[in-house]
């Protein structure tokens, strides 16, 4: 029996997959991108971060934006887990596996970028060894690493359910036992994840000498803490739907019902509505209280094209109000509006993370300094693309060999 025949036995029960040759070509393309990024990563580690486009104004740049966006979009995992296992919306079992893998990819990818982004990666565990409990970043380090472990624990049983692996009795039982305790991990995950999504926002909100980012708040948490949680849980499910839709497009197979996707989008849209209300209130308070207190005006927060006001309106109207309408009205029944709504919502959160990361630093606080422009260079793009390629590879392998979509067999019966 040839290898391509053997390989067929590894597929989940009752599904069809593209030919091995085609799949290898697909992997090869992704592999080239990933290798290029890996090369850039080695260059960064060897020579130092001077090879990037970062500088003393923009200590945070593409990488941090990328991390924050990826982590926000990866939030579908914990939130869907919460709904599925704790709130027990049973239908979500049909998409939960996808969200777990997406979460795993996003978080592990973000960790990879983070280890690049710190100047002394060998010391990156100092967050545990010498923690500053007052720092939002300490909370982020804690929660992200712990949550990544939770995601691994959630991902492992999926791997164990692979047809051939599952034949081994020990592993079969292990997978079963792990499924039994999954609500516990879903709970822990939800807790950890909520906190670090929040503390990522808190990171910016506490920068009281950066009026662009600074926010008042509740107890020790600035409003951005809650806004980041809300924006993450509203766009996370949307991202899951987009990935699912994209996979259906690429594979030409139906993976979940429209109903499930629509449900996810409805959940996302609902959260987005809540987020929108708070975000608008927050923006109003920012313009009318925080900025005047700092002696600044709304107009002074924008400059030129890359820091232009268009970003503000795109984020708050086109990528917030519009998707809320698309996702929460009967328009959602039409795929065009559902998918557009999801795309806009996700784009909105990316813009939000970008402006908080880059524009907040570009805005000159000292009156005698000027706006500076940041542009990421090849090293930052290559490594970010590497993570995207890595995500595609993990997802492709998982789709090909693991029973992710319980509905796939039924939906594709001829």
């Amino acid at each position: 029996m040839s290898f391509s025949e053997i390989e067929k036995n590894w597929y989940p029960e009752g599904v069809e997959r593209c030919s091995l040759g085609k799949f290898m070509k697909w992997l090869a393309v992704l592999g080239v991108v990933a290798l290029y990024g890996f090369f850039a990563m080695l260059v960064c580690f060897t020579y130092g971060l001077g090879v990037t486009g970062l500088d003393n104004y923009f200590g945070f740049g593409l990488w941090i934006t990328f991390d924050l966006a990826v982590i926000a979009l990866g939030a579908g995992a914990f939130f869907t887990g919460l709904l599925r296992y704790i709130i027990r919306i049973d239908e979500l079992k049909n998409i939960i596996n996808l969200t777990v893998i997406k979460g795993f990819i996003c978080y592990s990818g973000a960790m990879l970028i983070l280890s690049l982004d710190v100047g002394q990666p060998i010391r990156s565990w100092f967050g545990y060894w010498h923690p500053n409990v007052h720092s939002m970043l300490t909370e982020v380090i804690f929660c992200i690493t712990c949550y990544l472990m939770v995601l691994i624990i959630e991902y492992v049983p999926l791997i164990l359910e692979q047809k051939q692996i599952n034949k081994i009795p020990f592993l079969h039982n292990l997978a079963h036992q792990m499924h039994v305790v999954m609500p516990l991990f879903a709970g822990i995950g939800a807790f950890l994840s909520t906190f670090h999504q929040g503390s990522l926002g808190g990171m910016y909100g506490v920068m009281f000498a950066r009026p662009y980012a600074f926010r008042d708040g509740f107890f020790i948490w600035p409003w951005t803490f809650f806004l980041f949680v809300l924006s993450a849980i509203s766009t996370g499910p949307c991202m899951t739907v987009l990935i699912c839709g994209f996979m259906e497009k690429v594979t030409g197979r139906k993976l979940t019902t429209y109903r499930i996707k629509s449900l996810m989008c409805k959940i996302g849209g609902t959260m987005l509505l809540i987020y929108m209300v708070f975000k608008y209130l927050d923006t109003w308070a920012w313009i009318n209280d925080i900025l005047p207190r700092a002696g600044l005006t709304f107009d002074q927060m924008f400059y030129g094209l890359v820091y232009g006001r268009w970003l503000f309106f795109t984020e708050l109207v086109i990528c917030l109000l519009v998707p809320v309408i698309f996702l929460l009205t009967p328009l959602r029944k039409k795929p065009f509006f559902m998918y557009s709504g999801a795309i806009l919502a996700c784009a909105g959160v990316v813009i939000n993370r970008y402006v908080f990361t880059v524009q907040a630093l570009a805005q000159p606080v000292l009156p005698f300094t000027k706006w500076e422009i940041y542009s990421p260079n090849w090293a930052e793009w290559a490594t970010s693309l590497m993570v995207i390629a890595y995500g595609f590879i993990i997802m492709s392998l998982s789709y090909r060999y693991l029973p992710i979509f319980p509905q796939e067999v039924g939906l594709n019966k001829k």
Binding site: G59, G119, R123, H130, S135, R210, Q300, L366, F368
Partner: protein, 252 residues
């Protein structure tokens, strides 16, 4: 607002008379070498070069001939309520020791640059590459400041090592190291300024000149309204210069 204001019996502070600064750069050159900052080949990229002390050029924004300029030397402002300290995830920067100097612990720093982002004064610099001195020049390194490897954040320390030296000298002379005479401890930039534009001392010690200087009606601090409560004061008799120390709304 995170961070809390701590009070220290000794509060080292700098008073910079902008009306006396000619912008010559002697303070910057003094700082570079006192603190083992490598000579930088392309120092014209100001976003990448390291200069703990930097001289900014201020202008009143008018056209010739009503135009006016002033030079503003900017060391670390040693905030009373530092935006950078509370954000550090690994306690690599602290404001704990007497004197109120914001410290930076190089072997502790992981290089996350969160403090760089939090500081509105741009006093924090990151080691983008390992430092390199022209051959032999490492023999001129100051023994009092460590050389930083790449990947950590560094900043002005008010030449903290000189305080240690001054205290040692006081002890050797049988004097109280906690009550240094005015001028017994000054930073390198203050020492070498040819115009005498910079003054340094204990802001709380009535025997020190700076104690009086900060009460001048012309004294001000940078970005006071943000609540950073800095330990560096500026003096200018020109109103437009003072106004550039902070942001003001049109109605103010």
């Amino acid at each position: 607002m995170s961070g809390q204001k701590k009070e220290f019996p000794i509060t080292w502070g700098m008073v910079i008379d902008i009306d006396k600064c000619t912008g010559c750069g002697a303070c910057m050159a003094s700082c570079q070498t006192e603190n083992n900052v490598e000579p930088q080949r392309d120092a014209s990229n100001k976003l990448r070069s390291t200069s703990w002390m930097t001289v900014y050029e201020l202008t009143n924004g008018k056209s010739y001939p009503d135009h006016d300029i002033a030079y503003l030397p900017r060391p670390c402002q040693q905030c009373g309520n530092p935006p950078c300290v509370s954000v550090c995830p690994v306690i690599a920067t602290e404001k704990n020791e007497n004197g109120g100097i914001v410290s930076q612990v190089y072997p502790r720093c992981i290089g996350c640059r969160y403090c760089v982002a939090a500081c509105p004064y741009h006093v924090r610099y990151f080691g983008w590459f390992d430092p390199v001195w022209p051959e032999g020049m490492e023999k001129t390194l100051s023994p009092l400041t460590s050389v930083r490897p790449r990947g950590v954040v560094e900043k002005c320390s008010f030449c903290h090592h000189r305080w240690t030296l001054a205290k040692d000298a006081a002890r050797a002379a049988g004097k109280d190291p906690e009550d240094l005479a005015d001028g017994a401890y000054v930073t390198s930039c203050v020492q070498n300024c040819p115009s005498g534009a910079l003054a340094f001392g204990d802001l709380k010690n009535p025997k020190h000149k700076v104690h009086e200087l900060i009460k001048s009606p012309y004294a001000y601090r940078l970005l006071e309204r943000l609540g950073t409560d800095t330990q560096v004061y500026y003096i200018s008799r020109r109103e437009w210069v003072r106004k550039l120390g902070d942001n003001y709304l049109k109605s103010e």
